[in-house]
Symmetry: C2
Subunit: 253 residues, 2 copies
C-alpha cells in the first residue's frame, strides 16, 4: 500500500472483525470473504489469528464474536465512568419519565447506544441496548448528533445513504433533512416521529459542551407521547437536567 504509516494487515484484520458487527450470526469463511473482498487464503489466516487472540470463536456453523469484545467495550465504558455515574442518572430519568432513556454517541455514520435504562414499569424492552446502532438521518438521536458534529459528517451521511426507507414517513429529501438538523441545533433538541419505525417517536438533547465528541441523551415512546406541549416540556426538562449532570461529571472528555 501507499502509506508507510499504515499497517495494512491490521486494517484488514479489523475489516474482518467488522463483518461481524451487523449480521450478528455466525459467519462462514466464504461469507466473510465475500463481505470483505479479501483473498480467501488471507481471510482464513486473519480469522485464525483473530481466533487465537480470542476475538473470534468457532461455532457450529462458522465463526462468531467472542466475549473478548465485551471486555474491550468494558474498557471504553469504564473510561467514561458509565457504570458508577451515568447509569444512576439514566435510571433516575427513566423512572421520572416512565420511559426508556439512553445515552448515545456517534460511530462513523451511525448512532450507537452507550448506555440505557428502562423504567421498572416497562414489561417489554425494545431490544436496543449498549452497542445497538441507529441511523443518523432518520432518528432524533442521530439528527441531534449530526447537529453537534462537523458539517463534513452530515455531508458524508447524506452522500452515503443507500436509499433507506424505514417507514412511509421516512424523510428522504436532503434539503429537508438538513433543515431538520439545523432546527435541532438551534432549538437545542430534536424530535422525530414515525420515521424510523411507525408508531414510535424519539426526543434527543445534547450532552456536554460543544466541540467535544458529541453525546446525546434520548428517550423513546409511542408516537403521540410528545404531542401535548406540556408533556414535551417536562420530558425536555428532565432530559436536559440529566444531560447537565452527565456533562458535569464527564468534564474534560
Amino acid at each position: 500500500m501507499s502509506d508507510r504509516d499504515f499497517a495494512a494487515t491490521l486494517a484488514k484484520g479489523l475489516d474482518v472483525l467488522a463483518c461481524f458487527e451487523q449480521s450478528a450470526q455466525n459467519l462462514t469463511l466464504p461469507e466473510i470473504t465475500r463481505r470483505s473482498g479479501l483473498d480467501r487464503a488471507v481471510v482464513r489466516r486473519l480469522c485464525l489469528t483473530l481466533t487465537r487472540c480470542g476475538y473470534l470463536e468457532e461455532g457450529e456453523t462458522g465463526l462468531r464474536l467472542a466475549p473478548r469484545v465485551l471486555t474491550l467495550a468494558g474498557g471504553y465504558l469504564g473510561g467514561l465512568e458509565v457504570g458508577r455515574v451515568v447509569q444512576p442518572i439514566l435510571r433516575h430519568a427513566a423512572e421520572e419519565l416512565d420511559m426508556e432513556v439512553a445515552l448515545a454517541t456517534r460511530d462513523r455514520l451511525q448512532a450507537v447506544y452507550v448506555d440505557r435504562a428502562a423504567p421498572a414499569s416497562a414489561r417489554v424492552t425494545l431490544g436496543f441496548g449498549i452497542g445497538s446502532t441507529l441511523p443518523l438521518l432518520h432518528t432524533a438521536v442521530g439528527r441531534m448528533l449530526l447537529a453537534r458534529s462537523g458539517p463534513e459528517v452530515l455531508d458524508a451521511a447524506l452522500a452515503a445513504r443507500p436509499a433507506p426507507r424505514y417507514s412511509e414517513a421516512t424523510e428522504t429529501a436532503p434539503e429537508r433533512l438538513r433543515a431538520a438538523i439545523e432546527a435541532a441545533r438551534e432549538q437545542g433538541y430534536c424530535i422525530a416521529r414515525d420515521e424510523f419505525e411507525l408508531g414510535a417517536a424519539g426526543v434527543a438533547v445534547p450532552v456536554g459542551a460543544l466541540g467535544q465528541t458529541p453525546f446525546v441523551l434520548a428517550t423513546t415512546a409511542s408516537v403521540n407521547a410528545f404531542d401535548d406541549p406540556a408533556r414535551l416540556d417536562r420530558v425536555l426538562d428532565i432530559l436536559r437536567q440529566s444531560a447537565l449532570s452527565i456533562g458535569r461529571v464527564r468534564g474534560g472528555r
Copy 2:
C-alpha cells in the same frame, strides 16, 4: 514469526488495543510502548492505523478507545439476543429478588459481565456493568464458570494468579480453591463471601447445557443476605428458573 498462518501485525495491533482494556484512561504512546513491549515506531504506526480505522481516538493527553468498540460489542450481544430475550428475564429476576442479577461468561482468565439488571429500588449501583471483569478464582461467578470449563482453564488460572489478595478473607490455597470449585460443580451453584470485597457476597448458578461455552447467572448482595437457608433457597430457585429460560432460548449456542 514461525507460524505461516498467523498474521503477526494483526496480533500486535490487537495487543495494542488490549492495553486499553484495563486502565481505561487515556494512554500516551510511550505508555503503550512500555505495556506492549513493542518498538516505539511500530506502536506509533499501529496506533495510527487503529485511529484511522476508528477504534482509537485522540484525547487531550493521549489515545483512548473510540465508540467503535461498542458497536463490536453490540454485534456480540445481538447474536446472543441479549436485548430482546435476556434483559427482560434479568429484570424480572432482579425485581423478584430485589438484588442485582447478572449474566456472565468467561474471557480467557477472567469473568466478564454480558448483561446486568438492578431492581428499581437500588439507589446505588456497584459500578459493574456490561464488559466489567471479575477474577475467576475469588468470586462466585468465576468459580461457577471454572466448574463448567475444562480443567486446563482451572490449571491456567491457578498458575497465572499473581498473588491476588482482595481482602483478608481471600482464599489463596490452591487445593481449597479446587475444592470450592469442585463443590460448585456438584452442588450446581456457588456462593462466595467476603473474598473479593469485604461485606459482599455472591451466588451463581450455571446457564445452559454442559459442554457449551459456559455462562452463569449470578446475584450480589451484602455478605449476610444468604445466611438464612430459606432465603438462599429462594434465591437459587429464582436464579435457576431464570437460567432455564435463558438456556432454552439460547438453544444451540
